[in-house]
């Protein structure tokens, strides 16, 4: 190892930064890759149904699909508007 190397190691290397960013990104992309293809359409239709009854925004609903060894979970999350807004 040359003298120069000691200076370089003092700050975090860009390679480890790259690895960290890629690990997060690849994990995220792999999980969304395994989602069923009907998910976006279903999300859109669910939103339409909910909007018949409650005035919610486009992003008020989130659907997530998770898969592990022995089960698949479909999680549906709807954020209802504030009470104050509902009363007006």
């Amino acid at each position: 190892m040359s003298l120069l190397d000691y200076f370089k190691i003092s700050k975090e290397s860009t390679a480890s930064l790259a690895k960290e960013r890629l690990q997060i990104l690849v994990a995220h992309e792999r999980s969304s890759r395994n989602q069923p293809s009907y998910l976006p359409q279903m999300q859109k239709e669910l939103l339409e149904v909910i909007r018949k009854y409650i005035n919610v925004g486009q992003d008020a609903i989130s659907v997530s699909f998770e898969q592990d060894e022995d089960q698949e979970t479909l999680e549906l999350n709807i954020v209802l508007p504030d009470l104050q807004l509902k009363n007006t």
Binding site: A18, K19, R21, L22, Q23, E29, R30, R33
Partner: protein
């Protein structure tokens, strides 16, 4: 039994064609009758890398359309009589290749050849899809660089869901990592992802590391697959890769930095 190998990456410029030319030549030099096909319709370049650009008469699309026979279109390599090249067409029609047509030609090639190497175009469009669709083995060419690693992972997803083997629920395509343009010196300085880093991220079987090398440009300049430059580091790396693919035991090289004091001092190749 013939094997179809796709050389793919998603990202462009990582060394797919260089790799296709090198491993096809390597397999042929080992005595296996090999065909290498350029799937990059509209941007053919394998002919240049193989040094047969002036001998192209008919191409892949001509054969699919029945305008020429396979034997008329195949070009016998000037350095190795076990190696044949099927050039891509320079047509601008992106739909010139069809899944059915490609399948028919591959079936025909399988009768005569031991290995069929498919040089995929960059991207995930039709050409790339067809190059990998019928594959038995996939060589994923990756550079130790963020966008290339990400695109390789994307290709892995496509291989495992959109290939013939995936669609027919057959044994999946065997995937191998070829890490190219590797600079051990820069890895040591923390400036470049290491082999282990890339393997951790992609979880792929490493077939070999190809060092960043001046010999690659010299080889393409002269239209000789770099594997024929037996003195060069990249040529040796590809020779190792071919041997490992054929089941021979070759320890990995070119992963650690060059220790030679004088070469370091004078910045050798």
């Amino acid at each position: 039994m013939a094997r179809i190998i796709v050389v793919t990456s998603g990202k462009g410029g990582v060394g797919k064609t260089t790799t296709s030319a090198a491993i096809a030549m390597g397999l042929a030099k080992k005595g296996h009758k090999t065909a290498v096909i350029d799937f990059d319709v509209g941007l053919r370049n394998l002919d240049l890398i193989m040094g047969c650009e002036r001998r192209v008469v008919y191409d892949f699309v001509n054969v699919i359309n029945g305008e020429a026979t396979l034997n008329q279109a195949l070009i016998r390599d000037k350095n190795c009589n076990q190696l044949y090249i099927l050039p891509a067409s320079q047509t601008r029609d992106k739909d010139a290749l069809s899944q059915e047509g490609v399948g028919k030609i591959l079936d025909e090639l399988k009768k005569e050849f031991k290995y069929i190497v498919c040089d995929s175009p960059a991207g995930i469009e039709k050409g790339a899809h067809l190059a990998m669709y019928y594959a038995d083995d996939a060589f994923i060419v990756t550079n130790p660089e963020v966008s290339s690693v990400r695109d390789s992972d994307r290709m892995l997803g496509i291989l495992s869901s959109k290939s013939r083997r995936a669609e027919l629920n057959e044994e999946p395509i065997k995937e191998y990592l070829l890490l190219s343009r590797y600079s051990p010196d820069r890895v040591k300085l923390g400036e470049m992802l290491s082999v282990e880093d890339v393997q951790d991220i992609l979880s792929l079987h490493l077939l070999g590391v190809i060092p960043e090398s001046k010999s690659v440009l010299n080889a393409s300049n002269s239209g000789m697959p770099v594997i024929l430059d037996e003195k060069s580091d990249a040529g040796q790396a590809y020779a190792d890769i071919v041997d490992r693919y054929l089941g021979e035991d070759r320890p990995h090289r070119f992963i650690d930095e060059d220790k030679g004091f004088f070469r370091k001092l004078f910045g050798g190749k």
